[in-house]
């Protein structure tokens, strides 16, 4: 399970959900951060993939991730798309998870800004009308 953080406003950009990726988003909303693992070669992919990009197997299973990792790099985006103007600047970064996956997402800087190499805990950001994943400060 990963923490669920309530954000009391509408989601700025609703992520598109396919028949395949709905599983991911539905589970995220309940605090389960999952992705696919190839049933043939065991490769983990993120985002979830129906077809393994390494061995092309169509057999996969969803596995739950720890959500723990560290911050590889980060930025603040001041010049943003129209729909994101109300929440600019955007705090964004790349997180490397313990399981060996790299994830691009919002950084939840609460108090001190997150720094490169900081320990990270992935979170579910629960907006009024949808969810996204984000990264907050974790424990070493």
């Amino acid at each position: 399970m990963i923490p669920i953080i309530k954000i009391p406003r509408p989601i700025p950009i609703q992520p598109r959900q396919s028949a395949f990726t709905r599983w991911f988003w539905d589970n995220l909303s309940m605090g389960h951060f999952e992705t696919t693992q190839c049933a043939s070669c065991e490769r983990l992919s993120f985002p979830p993939r129906e077809i393994c990009p390494t061995c092309l197997s169509p057999d996969y299973r969803f596995v739950e991730l720890s959500g723990r990792g560290h911050l590889y790099t980060r930025t603040y985006v001041h010049m943003v798309p129209t729909r994101l103007i109300p929440i600019a600047p955007l705090s964004l970064g790349l997180v490397d998870l313990e399981e060996g996956l790299r994830i691009a997402c919002t950084l939840l800087d609460r108090g001190e800004p997150l720094k490169i190499d900081d320990a990270i805990q992935m979170c579910c950001m629960k907006f009024n009308d949808g969810v996204l994943f984000g990264a907050a400060k974790g424990e070493r």
Binding site: I11, P12, I13, Q14, P15, R16, Q17, S18, T21, S45, F46, P47, Y72, T73, R74, T75, Y76, V77, H78, M79, V80, P81, T82, R83, L84, I85, P89, L90, L92, G93, L94, D96, G100, L101, R102, I103, A104, C105, T106, I116, D117, L132
Partner: protein
């Protein structure tokens, strides 16, 4: 081999009429004028051109079916092909490459390669709506707001963490670029730019400021390519395409497994392949036009292709090695920061600079006795790279 018969470019700038404007010059008119000039300069008529390969216009261009419309305006009746090429920032390089291929395959004797891009009247925030869809997975990355420049900023932040590089160092890339651009007739920005002005400019995507990134711009470029023996009958020196190399790292912006973002493997591989194709080394090249939308990108590409040692590009910059008179002239056009960056056309503007330098038409920024030039362009976060080596025959 294939050589450049003629080349014409307009200054990178702002030409796009705003909404409801009357009396402006629209895309087809603009490119027809440029192409007609390129054809007149070497006495080529519409019936002489066998293929037309243009960069594809962005969705805001009202005229769809652009290449057919364009060809009809110049009386072209092609036997090779007539097409529009698109793959984000690398588009111009691919169009050029495809033109070279048509000649090598015997499908054409003379090929027109070019493009026009109008985007400057689109407000930045509106353009970013398209931008986030171009440089990320629309389901899993775009909703967060990763803009095109944000990926280079992520590179920059990590590079600064791993190596001795500061925002002050990056500012010198912008200042160096502007010094080159002052003497370039097709540059978007030619007025002086100081270090203090760069450092006082607005933060756009941390740690990149306004002068670390390109501004919105329009442009138009046209090349006529032909076999070198045809070119030799028309002009000297003959500037020919000596080699090429392409590589793709397999990622869309970023891999899903950790990898180093302070170097660009595709740039390294494309460069290596082009040098193998040429049969000579990087030390034999006289000038370098590197597709570098941001200050940090120029430094990382320099290191990735082996022009500078890892972590040393800033020292080569600060020692003046990449400036006029230096032994490693980089982006003598002024690059994306000052020559300007109409993205799909940037590769064609880069090749245009090499053409000007190798044909001794570069005026005050002329690199003495330049005999060969290296050009590289990219898409994504340098996920794919295409290199061309040009030389005087």
């Amino acid at each position: 081999m294939v050589a450049i018969l003629s080349a014409v470019a307009i200054p990178v700038g702002r030409y796009m009429p705003g909404d409801g404007a009357r009396g402006g010059t629209y895309e087809t008119d603009c490119l027809v004028r440029v192409a007609a000039q390129a054809m007149r300069e070497v006495g080529v008529s519409g019936k002489d051109i066998d293929s037309v390969i243009l960069t594809m216009n962005p969705p805001n261009t009202q005229q769809v079916g652009f290449s057919a419309h364009f060809a009809s305006r110049l009386g072209l009746q092609c036997r090779g092909q007539m097409s529009e090429v698109m793959n984000l920032g690398i588009s111009g390089g691919l169009a050029f490459d495809q033109g070279v291929n048509d000649i090598l395959l015997g499908r054409a004797d003379i090929v027109l390669v070019g493009g026009v891009l109008y985007q400057s009247a689109i407000k930045g925030h509106v353009g970013m709506e398209q931008g986030i869809r171009s440089v990320g997975d629309v389901e899993f990355q775009s909703p967060f707001g990763f803009t095109p420049i944000s990926w280079y900023a992520l590179d920059a932040a990590r590079y600064m963490h791993d190596f001795d590089l500061t925002p002050d160092d990056l500012a010198h890339v912008a200042v160096k670029s502007r010094r080159w651009a002052r003497d370039n007739d097709v540059a978007q920005f030619r007025e002086d730019l100081t270090f203090d002005e760069v450092m006082a400019s607005d933060m756009i995507v941390d740690p990149l400021r306004l002068h670390d990134i390109p501004q919105r711009a329009d442009g138009a470029v046209c090349f006529l390519l032909a076999r070198d023996e045809i070119v030799a009958d028309s002009r000297k020196p003959v500037v020919r395409v000596a080699a090429r190399g392409f590589a793709h790292d397999g990622h869309h912006q970023v891999g899903d497994h950790p990898h180093d973002m302070t170097s660009f493997p595709a740039a390294q591989q494309a460069c290596t392949r082009s040098l193998a194709d040429w049969g000579r080394s990087l030390q034999d090249i006289d000038l370098f036009e590197l597709y570098a939308p941001c200050s940090i990108t120029e430094l990382i590409v320099m290191e990735s292709i082996g022009l500078s040692a890892r972590g040393q590009a800033k020292h080569d910059l600060l020692q003046g090695r990449t400036s006029l008179g230096g032994d490693l002239p980089v982006n003598s056009s002024g690059g994306c920061l000052s020559r300007g960056h109409p993205p799909a056309l940037t590769p064609l503007y880069g090749l245009y600079e090499i053409w000007q330098q190798l044909s001794q038409q570069a005026g005050k920024r002329q690199i003495q006795n330049a005999q060969s030039g290296f050009h590289i362009c990219e898409l994504g976060n340098y996920n794919a790279a295409l290199a061309h080596i040009m030389e005087v025959a």
